[in-house]
Subunit: 371 residues, 2 copies
């Protein structure tokens, strides 16, 4: 039998008869409340992708032997939908998420699918739960496409059943009143990713192991880990985000730098957006934009020389997250935050991206209107 491809046109919709009450914007907490519906598509090795279904939000009922509970056959994406000034619902570079989701699926032997078909389904889902997309700057509907292996068997092997589902949570700005810069512990005793590993894929497997180091950092007064790699102390990521530093040289020329995609770095959509927009908007005689290896030693050296300008994490949840302090080997350095909240570029980047997300500025095909 031929495996059926994912086909958006086969959609079956059954709407809720008990709509949820909507929370006011100031009560929204990331990932804690969800919309009225969810999107689901089952896959089997024999038949391929089944009928896509949008139905009332409901629990998943799974045999306790299901491989997602035992061997971490699971991956996800994080993306957001925004309400523009014409009340159209927009997603931000969603094709990038689809490409990455397929790469994640391939890496752990889960089924792949056509990017555009899933985006059409997500658009339909968004239009059905449209009223849950909050109004206002910084407010959005967080989308969580998820793919899990559902074979009910304890054998370790490639899944012959899977479930792709999408749920959505209305969220507020990551920082409710302006930026709140965070302190980081540079962490070398625990290692997030390794060459030949899966740190460049958005797999569940990359997340649980990072929580204990985060708790240890928190107990010392640091909000997140700055993940180092190797004896050289290469800087890779921060918490669950990519990380950017701004240095300046003696002549005052600035460099925006982030770690290269060497297989240990998550290929962040926000990371790529920051790089692309920085190349587009920053004058090249004043700025160098670099994807290169750099170390905690370099950061501490630059800080000592007054050449560390600013630093920030980048990711879908916070867009950018300013950094004001880094602890390493018992020593702390301050990272400048121009107005006490963030560096200048951090603020600019946030605004560049926000304008595209909310449809205030068209840039390439980065904003997709659900229709």
């Amino acid at each position: 039998m031929v495996q059926a491809p994912l086909e958006a046109s086969k959609i079956q919709i059954s709407k809720t008869s008990t709509p949820k009450e909507k929370l006011p914007n100031d009560k929204l907490v990331f990932g804690q409340t969800f919309t009225d519906h969810m999107l689901e598509i089952e896959w089997t090795k024999e038949a391929g992708w089944g009928t896509p279904k949008i139905s009332p939000y409901h629990n998943l009922s799974l045999d306790p032997s299901t491989i997602v509970f035992h061997y971490a056959f699971e991956l996800f994406e994080g993306m957001k939908a925004y309400r523009d000034s014409n009340d159209k619902i927009r997603t931000f570079r969603p094709t990038k998420n689809m490409i990455r989701m397929n790469q994640s699926a391939e890496r752990i032997a889960l089924p792949t699918f056509d990017n555009e078909e899933l985006l059409k389904l997500i658009d339909q889902f968004l239009l059905i739960d449209e009223s849950f997309v909050p109004k206002g700057n910084g407010y959005s509907l967080y989308l969580r496409p998820t793919l899990i292996g559902t074979t009910p068997s304890l054998g370790v092997g490639s899944p012959d059943r899977a479930l792709l589902y999408v749920i959505a949570s209305p969220v507020g700005p990551y920082y409710s009143s302006g930026f709140k810069p965070v302190a980081l512990e540079a962490t070398d005793y625990a290692v997030r990713a390794w060459p030949g590993g899966v740190g460049n894929r958005k797999l569940g497997a990359n997340y649980a192991p990072c929580v204990l180091p985060q708790q240890k950092a928190a107990s010392k007064g640091y909000a997140q880990n700055l993940w180092l790699f190797g004896e050289e102390g290469y800087i890779t990521e921060v918490g669950t985000m990519n990380v950017f530093f701004v240095f300046k040289d003696e002549s005052g020329k600035k460099e925006l730098v982030t770690a290269p995609l060497d297989g240990t770095i998550l290929e962040g959509v926000t990371r790529d957006s920051v790089l692309t927009l920085a190349k587009e908007k920053l004058p090249s005689d004043e700025w160098t934009i670099s994807e290169r290896k750099f170390t905690i030693h370099e950061v501490f050296d630059k800080a000592a020389k007054g050449q560390l300008v600013e630093a920030f994490g980048s990711g879908t949840a916070a867009v950018v997250s300013p950094i004001n302090r880094i602890g390493w080997n018992g020593k702390d350095i301050d990272v400048p935050v121009a107005d006490g909240a963030s560096g200048e570029l951090t603020k600019d980047v946030a605004e560049w991206i926000r304008r595209i997300q909310y449809g205030e500025e068209e840039f390439k095909d980065w904003s997709r209107v659900a229709q």
Copy 2:
């Protein structure tokens, strides 16, 4: 509020009214059919461990945002129960599994528990489903203690809800008619574990990423991966098992060697049993028992000199799994299998362990009778 500890005496039992039909021994497939009941204990951060429950085997019903589906908050154990000649049900070194399960839990911020309390509950579960423990050499009831994070929220943080459950699957001998030796591909492009990672813990996160490399090896005619680490080509594990090699020197003295517990190796119960029994049973003037680093180069050199005696994987499912060929860098070496099925020590080790598992020989406190 104080977190309640896990207490076996609080057990609540509700038996099935629709007992399953039992399969004949020759129809048993690993991890595909399960007994009539399951054991469950819920945990919350506020109240600690709840009432242990043995109830009819049933699906788990979980919110689609539950952290086990997104961030791999999951770990498990593998252990077996055996029916002895007096129809008593015995488990093999189960305290080792409990210790390891707690170490796994600690590593990903899931709750820990008292080893003996969970063992008492497992004993009760075994006595209730006693009729599912098959009779006969090589037959057993595979037990799968599992611990998952059940917080229904997309925030990445330490779980405030969890579920510990145990399911059981009647299984036959891994090789239905004697040993069947396997060919391995020595794999360096994919890396199972690394220093500062979680390869020494029995987390779901360690499993899904290994399936694609296994498929690639299989497409080239190798059953499993021999996992290498680093530029040196250190031998670490095979498939989902620990691995042992036997070398001999010019004088004919033999060495049994396995990788040391350096943080990248799963601390296998069977591994420890092999080492302990080898030290106990093999004459020390003829044998050296080594936990040391060794490389694929050493194995190939020894093979070329006729000093490679035998090799086997060790784990709960197969106990020992003989190896007859290793491919690396486009070259294959044969690993001797004395009678075409396994090396001599491989056979002896299997029998040493089998006798203790089935209560034919008492050795230390390794065999626990459920009562």
